[in-house]
Symmetry: none
Subunit: 226 residues, 4 copies
Amino acid sequence: MSASPRTALTDRRPRALGRNALGSQKRFDRRLGEILDHATAVFCDKGYDAASMRDLSRATGMSLAGLYYYFESKEKLLYLIQKHAFETILASLRKRLEGIGDPEQRVRLFIQNHLEYFLANQKAMKVLSHEDEALKNSYGNEIRAIKRVYYRTCLGLVEDLMHRRGVKFSGRIAVLSLFGMMNWIYTWHNPRVDADAGALARQMSDIFLCGLLGAGKLKRNSRPAQ
Amino acid sequence: MSASPRTALTDRRPRALGRNALGSQKRFDRRLGEILDHATAVFCDKGYDAASMRDLSRATGMSLAGLYYYFESKEKLLYLIQKHAFETILASLRKRLEGIGDPEQRVRLFIQNHLEYFLANQKAMKVLSHEDEALKNSYGNEIRAIKRVYYRTCLGLVEDLMHRRGVKFSGRIAVLSLFGMMNWIYTWHNPRVDADAGALARQMSDIFLCGLLGAGKLKRNSRPAQ
Amino acid sequence: MSASPRTALTDRRPRALGRNALGSQKRFDRRLGEILDHATAVFCDKGYDAASMRDLSRATGMSLAGLYYYFESKEKLLYLIQKHAFETILASLRKRLEGIGDPEQRVRLFIQNHLEYFLANQKAMKVLSHEDEALKNSYGNEIRAIKRVYYRTCLGLVEDLMHRRGVKFSGRIAVLSLFGMMNWIYTWHNPRVDADAGALARQMSDIFLCGLLGAGKLKRNSRPAQ
Amino acid sequence: MSASPRTALTDRRPRALGRNALGSQKRFDRRLGEILDHATAVFCDKGYDAASMRDLSRATGMSLAGLYYYFESKEKLLYLIQKHAFETILASLRKRLEGIGDPEQRVRLFIQNHLEYFLANQKAMKVLSHEDEALKNSYGNEIRAIKRVYYRTCLGLVEDLMHRRGVKFSGRIAVLSLFGMMNWIYTWHNPRVDADAGALARQMSDIFLCGLLGAGKLKRNSRPAQ
DNA sequence: AATGAATGAGGGTTCATTCAT
DNA sequence: CATGAATGAACCCTCATTCAT
């Protein structure tokens, strides 16, 4: 995570920056990214609620009070982790979809993008999937808003495809089933045993697309449930 | 939710209970079941780690110390909830599978059984799905053992079906994808908006079965991963 | 302990006794003695404060509430144990001193009586020695009163002896040193390794008597402290 | 009471402390020593088991949580108190024995050292004597190891003396009787009534030495028990 | 830029005890 | 004669967070 571009994850710089402003800001963000990485690992292992700031202090090698120089609360840490993951995956998706016209290809691309990021950032994605309800109030609202955008993007792709193929099926059920297939991975994927992101994406795409297109041609599913 | 046999709970009580009247045993189990139900709701809402015994005390209307008369620890509560859910769903599955021979029907039945129980006991099933790693040591091992049995049952059904249809696909990926589709439901299902268990089961079965059988006939999936 | 004579250890019989009164009282006292024995063992092993009524319940095989039929409180249990021990040892001492005139023999007899009871009732005596300050208020006062009688008895014997031999030494220091020697035994005596009560009594008597009579003839101890 | 080296306490703190300023270390140790002193008083008055961390919080004027910044557990507190007492008394003993050759003088010096420390640190010594079994596992083992060294030192002095004087007596019984005499003091010594350490040491030394040397010349004790 | 020291609130759990039966 | 069920108070300990430095 710390390697990816990150621009001003937080604006909570405590005091006016002198002539060294730019370098200082950069250093701040680098340190912050490192902490975020450690926090991701700890939240992944113990769960957000069970993880303590002391665990984080130990993991980062930074003092308890030092952490609060970078983050105003434990909640904010989770918020930053989740926001960063969502924004990165969304940005990557948008770039990849540019110039791709074929609706099936676009859905396959969505799945591939999701799984590649998922397996390359398993810990962050587990935290994203598992700590879905941990954030309350404005932090939570902001994350939920991004999530909705992501969901709707997928829904658009799927409905596009169904429309082109003359298939009738509940887009909501289809998309949420797809997310289930993909996000559940964090509960079982073992890198030493299971296929890599490319193979996994192909298999899940095949199941999902054959399933959706096949099911959509059966009589009973021809009226989409709301 | 009906209670587990009393013997499981007696360890921490001052002395072994010998000659309980039958009525007393029944009353004990009824009270125990009520508490378990409240605990399920609380664990569902706040998550196991974030839920406190004081929350439970409030929810049940029983004193904090009173709870410990029925349960020796918070962990044991979660254990009993998860064990009960798994055992009930497994027992129901076995009964339903009796006398059904058609492999596709058997897979459909598995899905239907899972979703019916899932939606009829949403809170318990969220606790089962979401608190998968919360239990440690022997409690955790016991639950994981039941879970493995359940997983293997499903794997058997799916592999049976693939074999009959001459389909090649990784059974592991197929089954885990199916579980993902189904278990993810707890994150989105809204009884006022979404279809009921029967309809949902039909739709997911269609996607999964069309998907699996279709995908299994594509060239690239003809060699099962690992 | 239950084998020794015990007359109405408690008068807390809950209701009027019918025609079966005497037998009932006997049965009550027998049961009570059994419980007292178990309590002695538990207090000895864990210490009075660390021992819980649940420990006692377990040890006696009686329900928690059942214990309270025999004893009104945990404190009363300790009180009864200590009182019984002191009264028994005092009664035995008085009997043995009857008809013995020689002052040295009388002191030796005191030591022998103390150590015989100590080793025959090690657990009770550890509870007596170690939980010296655990009892408060009236229970504590009563025990302290018996203890004072016991102490003064010993002091009388020792001062008698010193007087006869023309020895000057602080009786208080002498007697309290003797009690220290004897009571400390509970911290080290191992029945499989150490001598029995008779031998031990002889050795301690020799040390104490030679010591007191020898020391009392040195110049510097000839003015007793206070 | 001076504090133990900080390293012993750092385990539970969020991260290993590296570059503490020397002044900081000193301040920490001073505070730690103050708390240890208060804890000693509280453990002395109520007993280790009956004393609560809240009692300590009250006695020190520090918050409950604040105490845990200095000590990781109640048990560790007792451990530090006992260890400090034993190590101080042992160090003092070794210094005093240097250059003293006469066996009798060496035993007298042992007694004097013990009683001087005992009366100068009555509370700590009561905690040492009375809470002998409270510490379990590794803490307990460590304290027991120091205690054994102390015991054997004394045994060596006493056996030396007996050998020089041609006296036969069980060294074990002699030494343990001496410890009994001395350690029992915490149950009765009243500074306003009783002699000071010097006088007490002289009296006890006289009793013990006259006793041992006298008893060792009586016929019956000429074969040492075990 | 980061820390040591400290805290109020709350965590899970156990306590001695009671009372209707 | 003895119990099962229940409780308020207290237990030891950890939490996220702050603030002077």
